[in-house]
Every structure is written in C-alpha cells, then in structure tokens.
C-alpha cells in the first residue's frame, strides 16, 4: 500500500444505498436471487429490485419470523433469498428462526440488516442494536460481514450471490463517507489501508472511517499506525491479523457494537492463542444507546475519532 492518501472521500452515501444497488445487480446477474422485505422497502433501498423483479420479490409485512422461515423454504428449493429489515429485527427478534431453520439447516439465506448500531440516530436504543454481531457470529457456519462504506456494501452484496451458505450482512442508516470504491472485495480477506510499524488498528463498518481520520491525526504526532479493515468478522482473516500484530505487537479494535461479543473479542481470542499483545477496544461498553445525531452518539459512547486516538496512545504508553 504505497499511498494511503487515496482513501479520501468527496461524497457521503448511506451503506444501505450500496445494498440496494448491489441487490439490483445481483438480481440481474443471477435469476435464482429472490428478495423479501418486512415492510421496510424504502428504508432498505429495495425499491429498484422490487420494481424490476416483481415475481421474485416478497413483501411479507411486519412478520420477521415468518420472513426467515419463508426464506429458508425458498432456499430449500434452490433460490438465493436476501431478506431485508432493520438489524434489530433481523437478529434478536428472530434468533431461533435463524438458528434452526437457516443456520442448523444450512440454508443459503442472506440476512441483510440495515440501521445497525448507534448511527441509526434519533429512533433510540430500541432500534440501535449493538449485540447483533455477537449473536450472529456465535452461530456455527454463519458468515458475518460488516462493510465500511456504500461501495463495499454493494461489493459484499454481490459477493454473497456466489457464496453458498447462510450469511449476515450488516449495514447502516446514515450518509457516510465513500472511500473504498477501487478496493477489491473478497469475503474473508482483510484490506490493509495503510502500512505502519507502531500499532495495528483493526476496524469494521462505519468505524473504519473514524479510524482512518484518527490515523491521520496520529501520523502528525509521529505515530505510524497500520490500519486494516476487517469487513468479514466471521470467518476472520487470521493471517492478516497475526502478520500485522507480529510486526507491531500492539492492537486497537474499532466497531460500532458492544465490546462483548464483537470484532475485538474475536481478535483478542485469536491473539490470546497465538500472539498475546496489549490491546484496547473502541466499542460500546455494556450500555444501551439513546436518541441523538449519529456523530453525537459516537462521541458520547466512546466511538469518536479522538477515542480512537486515545486508545492508540494508551496501548503505546503501556
């Protein structure tokens, strides 16, 4: 990675828009792709798919458990169903349906979840799920992906068409910087945005941009960070993580999720086994969210750019 200055952003687009674009393209690419939505077509940006593929789209109403079961049935006969609703209703509300009818049954269902995390904003804690990554990564055989911008979300959606097996795709509501347009996306393969020698920062979802801004500030202070995007939380790119930490011996993880059960947990477990290293976690610490604007919330709950900066310094000064 010669020049990391390429990761600039000139526009903001919500990651859910990337999903909508990816779903439409997926439908054109493969006629086995079908989509289901539980009364949130506009929010999930599924309108274009619905319009173009009316016979392959199912509005199931406000009945998420039924949606997961229908998706499992469609997958049984060879369809590739993409379900769409908010992350809260895509996971906690229907965990048993996913566990039995999809994961244990090894159905090729793609659970696509918008409005994840604090950046959902004003709707508050009832909808701001911060436990979904943990729930989903615990299910045997479940692939878990949390893209960082709209372009990566589109790429991930398309990649899932050719990836057989249950998967959870997590994205968000707010407009967010687009900065990964030219990056190759491969499920399970981390992307190194910047090489560095002093510390390894692993970031997923919206927090990659926060981490990138933090790295720029730290660079000015002479701290040489390595920044790696872990878009696929399960399966983890073990080699990418270990190769980086063997060099830096210091670690910070960044995610819009509870500290318990998230990306940081997974990295810490890996390092405990193979390369124990000082580590800090930029994540929500055992708390529910609240109403507010996305950036206000990130700051209040310890997920601001300066929180990443401080976490890095804390590890370095240990």
């Amino acid at each position: 990675m010669a020049n990391w200055d390429i990761f600039e952003s000139t526009r903001k687009v919500a990651t859910r828009n990337g999903f909508g674009e990816g779903l439409l393209e997926a439908g054109r690419k493969n006629n086995q792709v079908v989509a289901l939505c539980a009364d949130l077509i506009g929010s999930l940006k599924m309108d274009a798919f619905e319009k173009e593929f009316q016979d392959r789209f199912f509005q199931v109403g406000i009945a998420e458990a039924n949606m997961m079961g229908i998706a499992a049935g469609l997958a049984t006969i060879g369809k590739i169903p993409f379900t769409g609703t908010f992350a809260n209703f895509s996971t906690g509300r229907v965990y048993d349906q996913i566990r039995q009818s999809i994961a244990y049954s090894n159905k090729n269902v793609k659970i696509c979840a918008s409005h994840a995390g604090l950046t959902l904003g004003e709707d508050g804690a009832t909808h701001q799920i911060l436990e979904d990554i943990g729930m989903m990564k615990m299910l045997p055989g479940m692939t878990v992906i949390n893209p960082a911008d709209a372009s990566q979300t589109k790429a991930a959606t398309l990649a899932l068409v050719d990836h057989h097996g249950p998967a959870y795709l997590r994205f968000g509501r707010p407009d967010w910087p687009v900065f990964l347009e030219n990056q190759k996306f491969e499920i399970g393969k981390a992307i190194r945005l910047k090489e560095g020698n002093d510390i390894s920062i692993f970031a997923t979802g919206h927090m990659l941009w926060q981490a990138l801004e933090a790295v720029r500030l730290l660079e000015k202070e002479g701290i040489d960070c390595e920044l790696i995007n872990i878009h696929t939380i399960k399966p983890l790119d073990i080699d990418a993580i270990l190769n980086s930490v063997r060099k830096t011996n210091k670690v910070v993880s960044c995610e819009e999720h509870q500290r318990n059960g998230g990306l940081g947990d997974g990295i810490a477990q890996l390092l405990a086994l193979y390369h124990p290293s000082p580590m800090e976690f930029v994540a929500v610490n055992d708390s529910f969210g609240e109403s507010g604007k996305p950036l206000e919330l990130l700051d209040k709950y310890g997920l601001g750019i300066l929180d990443v900066v401080n976490a890095v310094k804390k590890v370095i000064n240990r």
Partner: protein, 279 residues
C-alpha cells in the same frame, strides 16, 4: 396401492415407532403413533418423490414436518420408502447417528429438508418452498404437518395470513388435532377455540378428517389435492388419537414424550402385526 395394503404398512410403521423409542428409552411415541396412518398414506400413495433424495425436489411433492418431535414416524416412513436403509432406524437418538432426536438436515439424512423441533416454524418454511415452486412453474405440491399445541406459536398465524395473501394454492397444511400437549389437554393449557373458523377467516379452504381411519385419510388427502391450484391454500384438520394402535397409550398426553419399558414394549408390539419385517 389399496387401503388394505396401506393399513398393513401403517402397522409396521407403528412397530418401528415403538422399537425406536424403546431401544434408546427416549423420544415421543404418542403423537407418532397417532399420525402413522397419515404418514403412511402420504408417503406410500400420494407423494410424487424421487429416490435417491435431491434437496431441491424439482417437480416433486415436498413434505415438511413442523412438529419435529414426532420424528420416529417420519424416520420410519422415510426408511420404508427407500430413502435410507431400514436398519438405520436402530440408531435413533444414539451417538453418531443421522437420526437425531428431532429431524435435521445437518447430518445429511436423506428425506429431511429442514431442521424442526423448535415449534411454529414449519408452515413458514413450507410456504417459502411453495412460493419458490410457483416462480419455477413447478408441478409439485408442498405438504406440511403441524401439531395442534403448536398453533399456540404466533409465527404460525403470520404464516397462515401470508399463505392466503400470496394465494399459495400449491400448499396443503395438515394439523394433527389430537387435543393433547405436554402439560395436558389443549383446552386446559391454552384453548385453540374454533379452529375451522379461524383457518377459514384467514382465507384457507378447510377440510376435516379422522386421521386414524385409513379410508378417510386417503379420500381427504385426495380431496385436498383436488382443491389445490384454486387460488387458496388448503388445510386438513386431522383428528387423531394420541397413541393410536397401542391400547394403554391411547388418548392421553402421558405418552407424549415417554418411552415404554421392556414389558410395555412387548405388550405394545403384541398389538401390532409385523407386516414388512422388523429391522
């Protein structure tokens, strides 16, 4: 296949149920025995199926078991239909077996299309398969069996509403209406009310049958098939007697999930003719 022949197969299926549950001293004989006539008729007379098993089941009729705890009857008819060796029934609920306590695709047992056990999910899955078949202009029908106590799960009603909304007329549901569940009679645990009116008001065509009278089972399944492709899903409210075929198990919830001991097993088997040869 004549109804007389079906009755003889059902007798063997009942023996298989008792022997599976007895061998591992675990499982659910009551509901399994009550549904043996229905399973036998469906698998040996009606289902258009391909063996060896293909998960996608193109142009086949599909069957989903939502109340997965009656796995012994399901395993018996699958084995007796030729999906897997009958001898494998001896591994039911034992370590390293494909015949798990509740049916699953996880161990690759031919004939199983989805895992079930946690109740209330099968009707949704069957609806999904029916909708997928419609996209493909597939000739097959989709059958699903649910328990009656299972209707207390909210997801069932979501799926009932959606099946009518989507005009899933290639979907046939059967309710095993034995009136019993683990803690006692349905009416005592949680009354199901007027099931016929409930299904009708949700937009289904409703049939009734005595699930322990083979003549009626055959005629009513045929009637349900004749009513399909008619813009509405169809349900058969199937009255059965839990434990049917074994006198001391009949009509009580006490044998829902209890295995007979050696002496009880012998008494039960003495009441069931061995017609196809025990495994």
């Amino acid at each position: 296949m004549t109804n007389h022949e079906l009755r003889r197969i059902a007798s063997q299926v009942r023996r298989d149920i008792i022997r599976q549950v007895s061998a591992c001293q675990s499982g659910h004989p009551g509901g399994s025995l009550g549904c043996a006539d229905f399973f036998t008729a469906l698998f040996f007379k009606f289902l258009r199926k391909k063996i060896p098993f293909i998960m996608e089941g193109k142009d086949e009729d599909l069957f989903f078991l939502s109340n997965g705890h009656i796995s012994p009857v399901f395993y018996s008819v699958l084995a007796r239909s030729g999906y897997f060796p009958v001898q494998e029934l001896s591994s039911f609920r034992k370590i390293n077996s494909r015949l798990q306590g509740h049916p699953t695709t996880h161990e690759g047992l031919p004939g199983i299309r989805v895992s079930s056990g946690s109740l209330g999910q099968g009707l949704s899955v069957a609806l999904g398969a029916a909708l997928g078949k419609r996209i493909d202009h597939d000739k097959g029908l989709v059958f699903v069996l649910t328990g009656d106590g299972e209707l207390q799960e909210g997801q069932i009603w979501e799926a009932m509403m959606a099946s009518a909304h989507f005009k899933a007329d290639n979907l046939i549901a059967i309710v095993d209406w034995n009136g019993q569940q683990i803690d006692g009679p349905n009416d005592k645990v949680m009354s199901l009310g007027d099931l016929e009116e409930k299904w009708k008001s949700f937009g289904w065509q409703v049939l009734h049958m005595n699930g322990n009278d083979m003549d009626e089972v055959v005629s009513q399944i045929q009637k349900a098939i004749d009513l399909s492709r008619n813009t509405k899903p169809t349900v058969i409210l199937m009255k059965t007697i839990m434990g049917f075929g074994v006198d001391f198990m009949m009509g009580t919830h006490k044998w829902h999930g209890v295995a007979p001991n050696a002496e009880q097993t012998q008494i039960a088997l003495n009441q069931l003719e061995e017609t196809l040869g025990d495994y």
